[in-house]
């Protein structure tokens, strides 16, 4: 099974929208995680020492960039 789809080059694929959203969310969450890591000002949540915003945000950012680039408008 593959998520690939053939779309006319002038159309925007849903996967591109998803890529954009994941990229923005990933950047925001990773940015916060790095700020938390640098300042040591951890949020008052359980397992905060695992720094979930860093690795979860990074994963979303990478996935978002992959989808955003792979399905960018204009790419046949």
């Amino acid at each position: 099974m593959t998520a690939n789809q053939s779309i006319p080059s002038d159309e925007i694929s849903i996967w591109f929208f998803i890529g954009v959203l994941l990229t923005i969310y990933g950047a925001l969450i990773l940015g916060y995680g790095i700020w938390e890591l640098i300042t040591g000002n951890l949020a008052n949540v359980v397992l905060a020492k695992l720094h979930a915003p860093v690795w979860w945000g990074a994963m979303m950012l990478v996935l978002g960039l992959l989808y955003g680039i792979r399905f960018r408008p204009g790419k046949a």
């Binding site: 099974m1 849903i14 929208f17 998803i18 925001l28 700020w35 949020a43 915003p53």
Partner: protein, 603 residues
């Protein structure tokens, strides 16, 4: 009360400072809440709304013909149709409700995701889809019209349109109430914002708009909710640690005794499990009558698959959906189970969740209901940004649920009610305009229903029960029509009608005389869920019998007229050979193997 105060964040303020203040002012109309959102969380939610409206406007120019507006141009790939198919059912009410049920009943709740979904989804893809797809119907009532004539179609279209729009209103109210409990948002604010957004993207983008947002919502739900079970399992010491802690909590009397981690062992008798269900009800009532009724004939979900770009994609879509459906318990059932061992009060003692009635009877006692387990878990683990993502996933789930109802209503209203009964020969653009207005009208009626439910809570139970009345008889009519050439128009009509009346009658009988439960559900120990299962089974049986008997006295349609509609009279188009990994049968068998493996693992 496990409220976690979020820190003021320099970074978040930079990102969303300008936007946060007015929004916060507006939201401050609400009451004390479970979670407090930081500016970063609000930015995450706001970005989602911007994205939704962007998609709506982008798709406006791609929904000009009726085929584009109502059927998304039948251009969806198997992946998009499949994710949308499973996502249309993955509303937030369901996520929160079943997480609460898992806290209450244990892994038994997973029956609704596995035996209550997978066989039906695979049956739709592999057996029924060729008929739906080949006959090019626009809707399930449309199929009934082709097969049985206008009588059955009109009954089915009116009941579907009426119930769909009521359900949309119930969803809207439920969302507003959840937002009030979790975030302290004002009810009117939640209803207005969600209605405007849904009306905008469905009226502009049609089914394509709804499908795009459902796929987006699917990604958000996984992105926002998956972290909870991962961190929960780390805290609990893995699956074995979770089981050991549940056993310990039961031993010390902290939680009620029961088998929380096995699915079938306590199904021998109604009174052996807290759900009050029996394995016959689970397999035949839930696994057949209800599940097949919902997944194969409810137009809300079938519409997504009909939008696929080829027969192979249409068959593959439910199969792709089945794999994700099997995985959903990981983000719904598992957090519910984890809640049994990790949720704590402010003093470090184990938090005990209770029923809604107890929470309402003890205002100010700081109690939380079972249905709040998922938000509580989100608040427990998610720092700023991640909490906003989790809340956005819930909002997206509610909105796509409403959008699904409204887009299906719009299609059935236009194709199955307006066109045959009011204006048969209008231009295509006219029907698109009717569809857009039906979408807006649908949202307005939903808002009215939401306020009606708000003023009289008891109505909600009746609306949900009403919806279940039509599912099983519709399945009976479609199955008999699709697999029995001899079935006649009169048989279809009377079967549908008597099956529905049977369901209504049994519901009323138990309401008036609760002791009738021992006849309807075969045991006085049966509970509500078991009653639903057996009622569906009775109603389906009556539909089958009536269609069979009435058809025997009528004249069947010539075989030639049944081409594309009935098994044995339809030539299924030959599909090009593909490698095994692209073949739908290969993936269907793999899905069956995974499904059976899950039943054995959690036996």
């Amino acid at each position: 009360m496990a409220v976690i105060e979020m820190h003021g964040l320099a970074l978040a303020s930079i990102v969303s400072g300008a936007l946060a203040s007015p929004v916060r002012l507006l939201l401050a109309l609400g009451s004390p809440s479970l979670a407090h959102l930081s500016p970063l969380d609000l930015a995450v939610i706001a970005i989602y709304f911007v994205m939704v409206i962007w998609i709506g406007f982008y798709l406006k120019n791609k929904s000009n013909t009726s085929e584009e507006f109502f059927m998304a141009g039948r251009e969806m790939t198997a992946w998009i149709a499949g994710l949308s198919f499973v996502s249309a059912n993955l509303g937030s009410l369901e996520l929160m409700g079943w997480a609460g049920s898992a806290y209450q009943y244990g892994i038994l709740a997973a029956h609704w995701y596995w035996v209550g979904a997978i066989p039906a989804m695979l049956f739709l893809g592999m057996v029924m889809m060729p008929f739906y797809y080949v006959c090019k119907t626009h809707s399930v009532p449309g199929y009934l019209k082709m097969r049985f004539g206008p009588g059955s179609s009109i009954v089915s279209a009116f009941s579907f349109a009426f119930m769909t729009i009521l359900m949309s209103g119930v969803n809207m109210f439920a969302m507003a109430e959840v937002m009030k409990v979790v975030l302290g948002w004002d009810l009117n604010f939640s209803i207005i914002v969600s209605s405007v957004a849904v009306a905008a993207y469905v009226a502009l983008g049609g089914l394509r708009g709804a499908i795009f947002n459902e796929v987006l919502q699917f990604v958000l739900i996984w992105g926002g909710a998956l972290l909870v079970p991962i961190l929960g399992l780390i805290e609990a010491g893995g699956w074995n640690g979770l089981k050991a802690k549940i056993a310990h909590n039961m031993a010390v009397g902290a939680i009620p005794s029961g088998d929380y981690t096995h699915m079938w062992r306590s199904m021998g008798h109604f009174q052996d499990n807290p759900m009050g269900v029996h394995w016959t009800g689970i397999i035949f009532g839930l696994g057949f009558a209800i599940s097949f009724g919902y997944w194969t004939t409810d137009f809300l979900v079938v519409q997504r698959v009909l939008a696929a770009n080829s027969l192979r994609s249409a068959r593959m879509a439910p199969i792709i959906g089945s794999f994700f459906k099997m995985a959903v318990p990981f983000i719904v059932i598992l957090p519910g189970l984890l809640g049994l061992v990790v949720l704590q009060n402010g003093d470090g003692s184990l938090m005990k969740l209770v029923g809604e009635d107890i929470v309402k009877a003890n205002p100010g006692a700081g109690l939380h209901s079972y249905n709040e387990v998922l938000p509580l878990m989100l608040v427990r683990y998610c720092s700023p940004g991640l909490l906003g993502l989790g809340i956005t996933a819930l909002i997206a789930g509610f909105m796509s649920g409403m959008a699904g109802n409204v887009s299906a209503f719009s299609a059935v209203w236009t194709y199955d009610i307006y066109q045959p009964l009011i204006n048969k020969k209008a231009r295509d653009e006219h029907y698109v305009a009717v569809g857009r207005w039906a979408t807006i009208l649908g949202v307005i009626i939903s808002i009215g229903t939401a306020y009606l439910v708000m003023s009289a809570h008891g109505i909600m139970d009746y609306v949900q029960a009403l919806f279940s009345f039509f599912i099983a008889p519709l399945l009976g009519a479609v199955l008999m029509g699709m697999f029995w050439k001899r079935a006649t128009a009169a048989g279809g009509f009377w079967g549908l009608l008597t099956g529905t009346l049977t369901s209504v009658g049994l519901f009323a009988w138990v309401k008036i005389d609760p002791s009738a439960l021992k006849y309807v559900a075969l045991s006085p120990y049966a509970k509500d869920l078991a009653e639903d299962m057996y009622r569906a089974l009775w109603s389906l049986s009556v539909t089958f019998i009536v269609i069979f008997v009435v058809s025997l006295f009528g004249k069947p349609r010539p075989i030639a007229e049944l081409d594309g509609l009935v098994y044995g009279a339809t030539k299924i188009p030959k599909q090009d050979p593909v490698p095994f990994y692209k073949n739908e049968w290969y993936w269907a068998f793999l899905a069956i193997a995974v499904f059976l493996g899950l039943q054995i693992t959690f036996w």
